[in-house]
Amino acid sequence: MFFCQVSTGVSAISEGQKTAISENCILIRESLKKTQQLDAGKRVYLGVRFERILTNFIVPLNVKLVESNISNPALLENQSNYAEAKEVFRNNYIKYQQALEELVGLDCRIEPETFYKKLVVARERRKIVGQDIENIKKLALKNIELVTKLRGEL
């Protein structure tokens, strides 16, 4: 299984940046809490659809192919890749939310430098989640491509 490593090394931030973080701390924290809420909505919305594609489309089609004695290794491989990508997305989303939670829990007025370091980690993890979603979409599109080819062979 593929897990992404996130670096935590961030060069020291400037005095100007520290001051800005401390001064805007309340607004930053409010914005982060809003982001958590919005992310939860998106995660549930996407998660339901990702799961539905697997359980209502990809898996039953492969079962039907086996029952009909039609061999299609490419579709089976795509199913396994899709299921793995969905699991990776789930795990990386949890890691991202944990990073965001740590960030919200920090008092940025007192610890602006630590806050910034953790902000960089949260950004990297968010980026990974975005890549995971693109990967899942790519595999769903691959399924369309393979099924279109199969339809032509029937």
């Binding site: 940046q17 800005a20 909505g41 995660r43 209502n56 989303y93 979409k137 339809r151």
Partner: protein
């Protein structure tokens, strides 16, 4: 006689207190374990019933529309034909379209320095 009766009452009272303490310890431990599992499994991040995480009215309406339309399931298709695969493809394409409602669901702007008013140096 009187002394023995008093001792029995004291012992009963002590047992009652012990039972109360023990029950509290068991309740606190099991609740703690449950919360740890809830948190570590990541289910906490999917729980929309948490205060402040309740779905917006618009989201609820969208869900109702989805439910009214019924959910497609290929396993209900009896025979594997070109027609059944055409329907499969149409339905799958509409699922992917639904995913694309969010063009960039986890875009980076929302955590950028600029968004938080942090000067870029």
């Amino acid at each position: 006689m009187q002394e023995e009766k008093t001792r029995k009452v004291t012992s009963g009272g002590r047992n009652l207190i012990l039972l109360g303490v023990l029950s509290t310890v068991v309740a606190v431990t099991t609740t703690g374990v449950s919360l740890a599992i809830y948190h570590n499994s990541g289910d906490i991040y999917l729980d929309r019933s948490r205060p402040g995480f309740l779905p917006d009215e618009e989201e609820v309406e969208q869900k109702d529309e989805d439910e009214q339309g019924g959910v497609y399931n290929f396993s209900k298709v009896e025979k594997l034909t070109a027609e059944s695969l055409t329907e499969y493809l149409e339905k799958l394409e509409s699922e992917i379209e639904a995913i694309n409602v969010y063009e960039k669901p986890f875009d980076m702007e929302i955590l950028s320095d600029d968004h938080f008013g942090i000067p870029i140096e």
